[in-house]
């Protein structure tokens, strides 16, 4: 069986173990559906942000609050974490006696560290804004900002918790079928968060810093 014969998108498994292919397909497709409903949620928050961009109520504006250096750093960190998760996926897919589990855990740890670094940088940004008096309670624009960007941050936090849980499960159950499927779904989730971030740095940060 060719490992590259992808039966289903995201189903980047070399073999399925005791879970049947149709069950795995359902599990992955179902997760894609969930991601699409989450995407609609984010899209509406972007739309709300767009309609409230002008609602600064004579308070802090995007130009006064957004820092391009921070945004760039966060972008690079998250993108690299997507790459490191890709390496983890490859470690999981291809068997290598003795080295597979440590390699997988290693790449997952790197992803986790980058994820937490991302959240740290973002939290630092938010603290800076709060010190400036740019709180969500100040204006509609800031409310829209603080709904959209921290929601993404919360998703990253959930992803980090999920990473920790999966790392524990890899140690405890080794790579049984359920662990593999869950790591695949976590991968979809992690990459999806990076896609949302592309939209955030473009629509929120860069748009805010252009004018």
């Amino acid at each position: 069986m060719s490992a590259n014969e992808l039966r289903h998108v995201g189903l980047n498994l070399a073999d399925y173990g005791e879970i049947t292919q149709p069950e795995a397909e359902s599990a992955i497709f179902g997760f894609w559906v969930f991601l699409m409903s989450d995407a609609v949620l984010f899209a509406l928050l972007f739309a709300t942000y767009g309609t409230m961009l002008q609602a600064t109520a004579s308070g802090p504006t995007p130009a006064s609050e957004y820092k391009i250096g921070s945004a760039l750093a966060e972008t690079l960190v998250l993108l690299t974490s997507s790459f490191s998760f890709g390496m983890a996926s490859i470690a999981m897919k291809y068997p290598s006696p003795g080295a597979q589990q440590p390699r997988l855990l290693g790449w997952m740890a790197v992803t986790l560290a980058l994820g937490m670094l991302f959240m740290g940088l973002e939290f630092h940004d938010f603290l800076g804004m709060v010190k400036d008096g740019a709180l969500a309670t100040r204006s509609g624009f800031l409310s829209a900002f603080f709904a959209l960007v921290p929601l993404h941050g919360l998703h990253v936090l959930a992803g980090c918790v999920w990473l920790i849980v999966m790392m524990v499960q890899v140690v405890h159950f080794h790579l049984d079928a359920r662990v593999r499927i869950n790591i695949l779904r976590l991968g979809l989730f992690w990459h999806f968060l990076d896609v949302v971030w592309v939209a955030i740095f473009s629509v929120v940060y860069l748009q805010g810093l252009i004018h």
Binding site: T48, A55, A57, T137, F141
Partner: protein, 697 residues
Amino acid sequence: MTTAPDPWHLLLGRLDLQSLPFVRAWQNPTASELISAAAAAMVVLAAVAVIVLVTLLGKWRYLWTEWFTSLDHKKIGIMYVILAAVMLTRALVEALLMRAQQAVAVGNAGFIAPDHFAQLFSTHGSIMIFFMAMPILTGIINYVMPLQIGARDVAFPLLNSISLWLTIGAAALMMASLVVGRFSTGGWSGYPPFTELSYSPDVGPDYWIWAVSLGSIGSTLTGLNFAVTIYKKRAPGMTFMRMPLFCWTSLCTAALMIFAMPPLTVATALLALDRYLAFHFFTNDLGGNMMNYANLFWLFGHPEVYILILPAFGVYSEVVATFSTKKLYGYTSLVIATAAIGALSFTVWLHHFFTMGQSADINGFFGIATMIIAIPTGVKIYDWIWTMFLGSIRFTVPMLYSIAFMMTFVIGGMSGIMLAMPPLDFLVHNTLFLVAHFHNMLIPGLLYGMLAGYHYWFPKAFGFRLDERWGKIAFACWVLGFYLAFMPLYVLGVAGVARRTQAFFEPALRPWLIVAGAGALVLLCGLMSLFVQLRVSIRDRRRLAVPVGDPWDGRGLEWAIASPPPEYNFAMIPSIEGRDPFFDGKRQGDSCRRAPARYEDICLPKESATGVVLGLAAAAASFAIVWHIGWLAILGTLIVVGTVIARSFARDIYRIVSAVEVERIDLRWRRALSEARAVPRELETSGLNRGLAEVAR
């Protein structure tokens, strides 16, 4: 203003004695307050009565292992329908109270205070949409769809249970609002700024936000479940174009649930942020914009009404074909119409707020889009009529509902086309004309469809038919009651009478309101008749028994198995060769009921308490947020997160039904099949019908 928090506040948040309607009624015994207290008392007494009854009968273990923790789509479906029936009763009584108040309060204040009246119309709408309509259609799709596609269960049985318990938890919040505190007075749509903290600082809008949010999350997950089931779990040979129409409508409904619930989640979440963290999304000051809410809410709200109607359309397709003894006319056009309705439902939402200040061009665009969406619905009506034409029609209860639907729903459709014209809408927006229109769509459309489905598939689920005579009595009440209750409202609406009005001053309105009140009483008789019918049917279940499983000479796979079906549905998953495989099979040697060559072990999911724990913990956390009980909110949230994580560690989650057991169950059914006498259609509502249809070869 700051005082140190005393222990009571830490424990109970802002709960106090004033939160109880009994205390309020004691202090101020007006008719309105006494009615509130009576309602609260009924909820408490009913809950106590149920608990005592179950304890006395010793049924807790049975309920827990066989029902609450079950992951079987059939049981989950039945529980959804039971929930819907309970909530329907409450909401119908609320409607009666409102109608009674309006009939009485012409030139006087009536007996229901304005604030109480406002809570009534808010709970009536919220319950009917989120806790009656959504659960009943979810329940019927849950039961029937997997059977029709030849599957053993939905794609994600545990998620199914979680969705059910989130809905039950949310309904519990609605019932709690009767006993502790009060409900929102902002209608089922909850528009800010009225529902903002500055105008409604009480717990009402909070109850509304959390009940609706939990329910909507449950529905999104259900939509996900149904969509993946239909995509991935169809029996071999069942292509999309061979699926029954009910499955097509289920698929489109699922797609709408997946994509239309998020706007509601966003709307209520942003309102919650405004209320709890003083954000400025919809406030009057500092950059808030209430139109953002209206836009978000109706982005959800319009597809929602198509979520409500599409399953009913699916039921009609099944029922009309079966009881016209004829193949469904225009299958392809029905599929295209269903998909078109689903897609177009996302393009019309602005017609709910034509009057809010947009330019005429924008109003015009959405008005035209709204009229266009009527076309596929019209196609469906014609297809059903053509199905009946030259068919051999049997006037069973489901068929009666379908015919009443075709005639009555179209009237509502026409009033909808009228409302789709912005200039006309400006005159009747938020009048009783609008109220008449949407009830004209929901009652003959959704409710008759669900009642038809209930009568049609009840024998499959429970092994005996419903009493036909009481079914016809109920039908007569539902139809007469609808016309009496809502046709006067068209007249009143055109005369300019606003909706949600607690008292009137124009004597000319009185006769119309009295007729409408009488109609509501007849509708209540309809509901009561259904309960009587159930009692009579259970009493007479031996006479009404149809164990062989095919009481109506049905067309789809669900009729090819026993009534009630075994836990695993099919001993052997059939292979499909066309539309109506069971019907065609019956006429060609009964191919769908052939015994399997070999019986196999069947793997089923084990029961799980995960759904119950998640649903109830989420409801507890929501209750805690409503009342500012910090410790309970944190605890509830931790339980939710912890349970999800713990469940992911579970490995012993399946059980096996042995091939020997499957064979035993199957042979028992086959014995009944061989011993039963086949009945012709003239005898299908008689006691001779054992569930085997006579087939002219």
